[in-house]
């Protein structure tokens, strides 16, 4: 078995969202989500990690140009300067960072293959990020696979999004 390496490329998109459950009354939304019910936006950062053997010919895990093209066409073109609340991916769902990360995973997995796509990390701001990794074959939760992909936090002013106000 050859050893794997992990290659991560960073992307960014700026998008609007709001916390709003259609099935609830305005008062209930306000009670649960507070000021997050107002449409607002973030500069999101997306780290996509590919796992694989280092190709003997090219010395690469993946051609980063290919990765940039796929993520660009599949995710960035769709989400950048867009209102996530009206994207069909979030119909009936709240575009939380958790759901955005899951949506990015679902968009990229068929294009890159779950044998290569290792992790999707979505930063809402420098104080909050969500990781999604593929389900382990045994059915155990993916998050028990202890691989940690490091990255510098995106620069910029932290904003307390869902935190203490």
């Amino acid at each position: 078995m050859s050893a794997s390496a992990y290659s991560t490329r960073r992307f960014s998109f700026s998008a609007a969202h709001r916390y709003w459950v259609e099935a609830w009354s305005a008062a209930e939304n306000e009670r649960v989500f507070g000021r997050l019910t107002a449409p607002h936006g973030h500069n999101y950062t997306l780290d996509v990690t590919i796992r694989g053997p280092i190709d003997a010919q090219t010395g690469m895990v993946i051609d980063l140009g290919e990765l940039k093209r796929i993520v660009g066409e599949t995710v960035v073109d769709r989400f950048d300067h867009a209102d996530l609340a009206v994207d069909t991916l979030f119909r009936g769902k709240v575009a939380t960072t958790e759901n955005i990360a899951l949506a990015v995973w679902d968009l990229l997995a068929p294009k890159l293959g779950t044998d290569r796509l290792w992790q999707v990390r979505v930063w809402e701001d420098p104080t909050l990020y969500v990781d999604v990794r593929g389900e382990a074959p045994s059915g155990e939760p993916s998050s028990s696979r202890g691989v940690d992909v490091r990255g510098e936090a995106p620069s910029g002013e932290p904003s307390s999004s869902r935190g203490r106000e």
Binding site: Y129, G146, R162
Partner: protein
């Protein structure tokens, strides 16, 4: 499908590395400049695992996590000397020692099944992860 949610917190504190069982000379030899009282702008990352609620889309109540970490950790250490913090009594305040100590403080509050990782970032060059276990 499970996700892992990581929240990044910040505190500033003074500390020094010292093993009370050793002499002053031995501590100075062991820890070098770190034996002198000094301080850091720390970052504390807390990672929790969960499944997003189908209605709210949230895997974790971040307001509650913030309250817990704030009360149990940040309020105790921010702008304090770590060696004087009751909750850290007996801890050699290395990054790894702090990560383990914060894990032990947070695990009963956050839940053993939920807490996945505690990371202490001491400087831009040093970060320490603790995931529990032996």
């Amino acid at each position: 499908m499970n996700v892992e949610v990581t929240r990044v917190y910040h505190f500033s504190a003074a500390h020094r590395l010292e093993n009370e069982a050793l002499s002053g000379d031995a501590n100075a030899a062991l820890y070098g400049v770190c034996h002198r009282p000094h301080g850091h702008n720390y970052y504390l990352e807390v990672t929790v695992a969960g499944r997003p609620d189908p209605v709210t889309g949230m895997a974790v109540d971040l307001g509650r996590l913030d309250e817990t970490v704030g009360r149990a950790v940040l309020d105790r250490v921010d702008h304090h000397t770590l060696e004087g913090v009751d909750a850290l009594r007996g801890v050699i305040t290395t990054g790894e020692g702090l990560a383990r100590a914060f894990w032990r403080i947070l695990q009963p509050e956050v839940g053993a099944a939920t807490l996945r990782r505690v990371t202490v970032v001491e400087t831009a060059k040093n970060r320490f992860d603790y995931r529990g276990g032996a």
